[in-house]
């Protein structure tokens, strides 16, 4: 056990990576799913153990050095409360969605490609976990590419159901690659200024550079600003922050149902985490928010994302696309939280990362059941399904309430923290935007709920049974989780606040 504890940071990446490779070779037919399920179950156990270890470590930080090379020279994995929490979110969602994937994927992807699907599925999870755990800015780029490249392919595999998955995947590939290149160029500029790639080391050297800026001979001023700007734009593309969200709606809509659920609840979240890391740990709040006023740009984008995303969601007639646009709005809430730069704001971000992952993941899973039973996710296809699929549609409705932020759902907790953070900062107009966003969420949720319960099912429609258990249980687990953390948020709020305090260090 001692051995496992010591090597947990490396194992949590290596186990899914190796298993992904093995699955791609021998995971033919049904075997692939069993291997993916076993791997993700092991991963969630490791992630929870890491979180416990980190919270019990004095100083709340664990460093793992690859090849025993000391930090600035080798690649170090650094785990602190913030990324330990994100690791648990990613691993948890991955395990639950994998459980669901078996029947859903079997009905949407040809059997000859299943071993590739589950191999890529594990690579994608490896990449997402890796982005979260790494303490090296360049290693982050490599893992970003691992997760992105497998994601493009996973989206494209939706082509058996709808050929438009191919154009969606190409679109995502082009924009995603531009985003990754921007991030890489930003790292190159920072490397030019500091000569280091380790996040903690860059942050330390940056302090010396900042110190020269007030004097007559400022060093690397333009280099650092250009580097940060490139990284900020690249990561905004990855997390689909408004004006850079173009790839998201089609990629989520045409991907296989299980892939949509995995992406919606983890990929953008990990992007947001990387952005938080760059702003707060790598560059420092003083540089990013006080000197460059990035927070103003972020707040404007977030507010626009909330209003625009929610409004466009309201106009959709394909429910999957509606949820995709709603995700753009929800990303706005996450970025608004950390753009405020306070402990409460960052807490709101982290807690909304978790709550939204549960809620939106659960809703995509419920919609996957509709795709499994009906064959498509058009709004009119949901008519009258409230009687036919009572549990699934009940879960969808509960998730919708979470998006609105009704009390006793997780969405309420995150919005409570977000509005408190806005009021604390004296930004009443932002609090207003959050509330208007919730109001629009009420409209688009009602639009679907009305069809589900009041719509009339065609008389000649084929008889239909409730979802199979392996699909129903994961859906209810995620939505049940979102209700549980809405009623008793002490655990999630405690971890989020610990993480926020750790990242912001001494600043109040």
């Amino acid at each position: 056990m001692e051995w496992v504890h010591k090597h947990l940071p490396a194992l949590i990446i290596m186990v899914p990576l190796c298993m992904g490779l093995v699955t791609a070779i021998i995971g033919r037919r049904g075997a692939g799913w069993y291997m993916a399920m076993g791997t993700t179950a092991a991963t969630i156990a490791m992630a929870i153990q890491l979180l416990v270890n980190v919270l019990n470590t004095p100083g709340q930080s664990i460093t793992y050095m690859h090849g025993n090379w000391p930090a600035p020279f080798g690649i170090a994995y650094v785990i602190d409360p913030l990324n330990a929490a994100i690791l648990v979110i990613v691993a948890l969602i991955a395990a639950i969605v994998t459980m669901y994937a078996r029947k859903s994927v079997a009905s949407e992807i040809s059997v000859g490609k299943l071993h590739f699907f589950y191999g890529l599925w594990l690579f994608c999870i490896t990449g997402l976990l890796g982005i979260t755990i790494t303490g090296d800015a360049f290693n982050l780029y490599v893992l970003l590419e691992i997760s992105s490249l497998s994601t493009y392919t996973l989206v494209a595999l939706g082509k058996d159901r709808n050929r438009r998955a191919l154009t969606a995947a190409i679109n995502y590939l082009v924009l995603g690659t531009i985003g990754a290149c921007f991030y890489l160029a930003g790292i190159a500029y920072l490397y030019m200024a500091t000569g280091s790639l380790n996040i903690a080391d860059i942050a330390a050297r940056m302090q010396d550079i900042y110190a020269t800026w007030g004097t007559d001979s400022p060093q690397y001023q333009k280099t650092v600003i250009a580097g940060f700007a490139l990284m900020a734009v690249g990561l905004s593309l990855k997390l689909a922050l408004f004006p850079l969200h173009g790839w998201l709606p089609n990629a989520y809509t045409y991907a296989p149902s299980a892939v949509s659920a995995l992406l919606a609840s983890t990929a953008t979240k990990v992007g947001a985490y990387a952005f938080i890391r760059v702003i707060f740990t790598l560059m420092g709040v003083d540089f990013a928010y006080h000197l460059l006023r990035t927070d103003v740009a972020l707040l404007i984008s977030s507010a626009a994302a909330i209003l625009f995303g929610s409004f466009i969601a309201f106009r959709q007639t394909n429910v999957k696309k509606l949820l995709a646009y709603s995700s753009i709005g929800q990303v706005g809430y996450i970025t608004m939280g950390f753009a405020l730069g306070s402990v409460t704001g960052l807490t709101a971000s982290v807690i909304h990362l978790f709550n939204h992952a549960l809620t939106k993941g659960g809703m995509f899973l419920a919609l996957g059941v509709v795709a499994y039973r009906v064959g498509n996710t058009k709004l009119q296809s949901l008519a009258g399904l409230g009687r036919k699929l009572p549990f699934t549609m009940g879960a969808f409705t509960a998730g919708g309430l979470g998006l609105i932020g009704v009390p006793l759902t997780a969405g309420f907790v995150s919005k409570w923290y977000l509005v408190s953070a806005c009021l604390e900062a004296g930004r009443y107009e932002l609090a207003g935007i959050v509330l208007v966003g919730s109001l629009i969420a009420l409209l688009y949720t009602w639009k679907v709920v009305e069809v589900i319960y009041f719509g009339k099912r065609a008389d000649d429609a084929a008889p239909m049974r409730e979802a199979p258990l392996t699909m129903l249980v994961p859906t209810l687990l995620l939505i049940g989780g979102s209700l549980y953390f809405g009623i008793d948020s002490s655990l999630s709020a405690h971890i989020a606040e610990t993480a926020a305090r750790f990242v912001l260090g001494g600043t109040p």
Partner: protein, 163 residues
């Protein structure tokens, strides 16, 4: 000129067939001498793949796929990465950090580094060569002389129209 016709040309046939051993030997040299001179797994892998692709260009891609079937190249691609990861895992099992090559030769950690790096480079070589072949396979799939939809004449536009 159609693609398959290259193999009718004696010169092409001989050059392709008798260049392969030299390319492969040079690839092996690059692989094994990687730590002492320019080269390493990546370059060697590309060269190995180049030998087979040259064969495919002259004798047709289907002929190359007969020699190296898809499942072989797919398997080798994954196997190479597994060798790399396995080297790291082995170090971990021996009680060292991930990829700490000192585990391979504990009495002389400095001497162990080349061993570890060479092992890893073999993994890189295998994966790179297999992935290059996969890329070639993907490009040439369905364009050979025997395939159902030949790529010459005006058929291209029709195929696009159908999709």
């Amino acid at each position: 000129m159609k693609q398959g016709n290259l193999s009718d040309n004696v010169l092409m046939r001989i050059v392709a067939r008798w260049n392969m051993p030299f390319i492969l030997i040079f690839a092996l040299y690059t692989q094994t001498h990687g730590e002492l001179g320019p080269g390493g797994g990546f370059q060697a892998g590309v060269m190995i793949a180049a030998a087979f692709i040259l064969y495919g260009l002259v004798f047709g891609a289907d002929e190359m796929r007969r020699i190296v079937p898809r499942w072989v190249s797919d398997g080798i691609a994954a196997l190479g990465v597994l060798i790399y990861a396995g080297a790291g895992m082995y170090c971990m099992l021996m009680g060292y950090e991930f990829l700490d090559y000192a585990a391979l030769y504990p009495s002389n950690p400095g001497g162990a580094e080349p061993w570890g790096m060479t092992t890893v480079e073999y993994g890189v070589g295998l994966t790179v060569s297999a992935v290059m072949l996969t890329v070639y396979n993907e490009i040439t799939e369905g364009t050979g002389p025997g395939s159902a939809e030949p790529r010459d004449s005006n058929n291209d536009t029709e195929v696009v129209g159908k999709v």
